[in-house]
Symmetry: C2
């Protein structure tokens, strides 16, 4: 039985969103499609899933969910913020669901957060349908609706921390995984700046992980790959990369920062690299 | 299009093995069924998967795979062996694919490994079709083909380390997740013994995780839940539980022990408990 939603399939009378990677099909059961539109940039859906609650879907790919999206958002945010002793100016590239902004704004010493997101409709939809994920209103948050690579290209020594919360390296986000963009990030950071980027699945795309790692190694003296489980993403395992100009050690997580996933031991433990990935990432 | 294999489905001309949990269908593409039989205990298949190479399937559920099964086997074995300073007598309950035996036998100070597995046909099939997983022949390994709970019930202060590599808590393995069995394990361990058990998926079965944790807490002074990604299992995230009578600290992993996943930092990092699970496991 067909349904009227692109990207969704019907199986035994139930709606599913399916991610097909090499040899693995992962299908999330959908209770209801709450919102759907084709923006100038992509196809946007907000659905209610059986397992993870509400989810933001872009071009058929899960971006974040109500019930576990905080794992990804906390891992990509608190790691760089624990490396920098006191980040005041933070840039988020992408991050349209406002989940990363929510984490960054928890720090009272952060005085300004710039966020550059290409698609205003994603922010709008997230604010309306994903209040559990999206940051509440905050005067420190400034959102620019434009191309992230162009925005970063105009900045020099402007930020203490930059977080790249990009969609997958297919379509418009492809440039956000390439060397010229990382070089621009390096220039946009201050002399003691720290950055973190999502680096795709080490199970399905170890090539992307490896390219990101070597690209950042050629630009920054201190680079750490780190890993976390993110249940709603294909294979459930995700890599991030941290790059730092000066700081090489995690501060303890600030007391009073409230989290559902990360704590000091999780942040430290996530810097441990399984042998199999060390071999793939560090071998020349 | 139907196919002749129970538990497998055909989709667009390709064979899949599907795991259906609440709201999530995970389907592994199968290249070929290499072996299939119905033993007195269960349905056994060895298949060749596109993503993870060869896999052992019992009653339609993935038990181990050639390309990532070592993650599970290393996590369940090296953690208890790093807690005990010098385990000489080790018991494996279940473990029919001989993957845990392979890890345990890497330690030269281990002088005897008893393994109690209900189904001789699983061991036979693994030896034939999964040489990458199954332990090579070793005089120290003694396999008993009988009911694990009955075997353990006859033992007293006989082992330094016990590893429970049970199938899911449905069907014959159900008793291996219940309090009387854990109490029997406690009696079968020496006064300084350490045990580890797989404790199911914290995403799909946090109730099983929590029950295991409280059951072992009532029997042992030292209990640690720990977590790892296991890509071929549903949700990709798995919990294990370590229980120890005396030792509270990991020795460094022995030099010369060759691993593909674990190292000291991974073992230590895996003892970090995400806030969300700490709340579920430790709250009364």
């Amino acid at each position: 039985m067909a349904n009227k939603h692109p990207y969704l399939t019907t199986h035994e009378g139930k709606l599913y969103l399916t991610d097909q990677e090499k040899g693995l099909r992962t299908s999330l059961e959908i209770k209801e499609v709450l919102y759907e539109e084709r923006s100038p940039y992509q196809h946007i859906m907000i659905v209610d899933t059986v397992l993870f609650g509400r989810a933001l879907i872009l071009d058929g790919i899960v971006q974040t969910t109500e019930k576990e999206g905080f794992i990804y958002n906390e891992m990509i945010s608190h790691m760089p913020l624990a490396f920098h002793p006191k980040a005041e100016d933070v840039l988020i590239v992408g991050g349209g669901d406002l989940g990363v902004a929510r984490e960054v704004l928890k720090y009272p010493f952060v005085r300004r957060v710039d966020m550059v997101e290409i698609d205003a409709r994603v922010v709008e939809a997230s604010r309306t349908y994903l209040p559990e994920v999206a940051a509440p209103p905050d005067d420190r948050l400034h959102i620019y609706f434009e191309d992230g690579a162009l925005f970063v290209g105009r900045k020099e020594a402007a930020y203490d921390v930059i977080i790249v919360d990009a969609a997958d390296p297919v379509g418009p986000a492809t440039v956000l995984f390439e060397h010229p963009f990382y070089a621009a990030l390096e220039r946009a950071l201050r002399a003691d700046g720290v950055m973190a980027a999502q680096s795709d699945s080490p199970i399905h795309h170890i090539d992307v992980c490896k390219r990101t790692h070597s690209s950042l190694k050629s630009l920054f003296p201190i680079v750490y790959p780190y890993f976390s489980t993110v249940p709603a993403y294909p294979s459930g395992w995700w890599m991030f990369t941290l790059a730092s100009k000066r700081y090489d050690m995690l501060r303890p997580l600030d007391p009073g920062i409230s989290t559902r996933f990360v704590n000091d031991a999780i942040l430290r433990g996530s810097l441990a690299v399984p042998n199999m990935f060390a071999q793939a990432l560090f071998s020349v």
